[in-house]
Homo-oligomer: 195 residues x 2
Amino acid sequence: NYGVGMACSYFEGYLVHVIPSDGAKFVGFEENMDKYAAKQGIVFPVKRLFIIISKSMYCPPDLKHFNKANREDLPYLEACQSLEEIEKDVAGVKNRTYRNSAYKIYRSGKPPVYLSAECATPLHTLHRVLQKTALYEDLAKVNVPEVVSDFCRTLASVIAKSPECRDKCELVYYDDTDPKANLASILLNKIRDLE
Amino acid sequence: NYGVGMACSYFEGYLVHVIPSDGAKFVGFEENMDKYAAKQGIVFPVKRLFIIISKSMYCPPDLKHFNKANREDLPYLEACQSLEEIEKDVAGVKNRTYRNSAYKIYRSGKPPVYLSAECATPLHTLHRVLQKTALYEDLAKVNVPEVVSDFCRTLASVIAKSPECRDKCELVYYDDTDPKANLASILLNKIRDLE
Ligand SMILES: Nc1nc(=O)c2ncn([C@@H]3O[C@@H]4COP(=O)(O)O[C@H]5[C@@H](O)[C@H](n6cnc7c(N)ncnc76)O[C@@H]5COP(=O)(O)O[C@@H]3[C@@H]4O)c2[nH]1
């Protein structure tokens, strides 16, 4: 089942590398955020990885593309320097690199808020696969809403079952097809609830 | 279908980033190999990415772990400096890095042979997922030989259909459960056939 498999491989092939400490070179996500905050002289009110799941599965290269154009009154995202990368040999690839991004949310009349966020990459890849139906014929008939819902449900369940990850990841559902929904505002609300 | 999905996402989420030129910053795999060869003063007899598919799905961090211990008469693999990495913003992750490895194969009495090789990462991740059946309950019942054969068949077919990738990737089946099978020797034979 495609959606379930996507979630398991995202967790085992990625979150397991970037969230827990490996007991050796990598200190773990939370401590990685602390080191960054100390070095940059900033504060992260919530030390979790925000994983954004967009309704259309469209994932822009930079989260700033979700900002509302010509709405300077609304909060908006801007990328900052990334967190320190994690390097390890994986499946014959020497020094494979895993890197999480830091963003700041500007809001008018208040200081900016910092966080670590990114889209759920497997949905981005699926989105691209579905656009190339001639190349990926076997997946052309897949039931997309079912795959996405399986992915989200399985990912949430695996995160909840994992003591090392459950309080360090936050799934954020964002309806990018709704002109009124502003990702930066949604993230600010999430942060306020979790602070 | 899990195996088919794995192959499509491996191609669209990875091979599409590392093999073709992007028309801008990344010159493409073949030219990347040329630049490396010129810089390091070496020669690649075959400028393709060798993707190793092991029978057990076990993928060691470094291909040298497939060498036969105490058999100095047999060819053996050693990692070299990696090819130049590819950096791009992907799905909200700023400067995500993709990097291919270079290896040399030593053989007694002859000069070493250079190549770019790695394991098929989705099989590595699947292997790890199958070891954690409590965490990934839904995948515990999956028919493994079927998933692997779907993955291999779909990957070979998608590579063959893609003009930009078909002569630049080589799938290598390696029976790591056979004590007589030496990966370095298999790769040397492949290179001799393709030269
Ligand atoms: N050899 C190799 N080197 C790479 O850099 C690489 N990047 C991806 N892949 C493999 O291609 C396929 C598609 O990738 P996608 O990004 O959609 O899913 C990825 C992605 O959602 C997430 N992930 C993995 N590495 C990163 C990363 N560095 N940054 C963000 N997300 C990542 O976790 C999923 C599974 O990863 P892997 O199980 O390592 O194998 C992937 C996958 O089989 C790679 N394979």
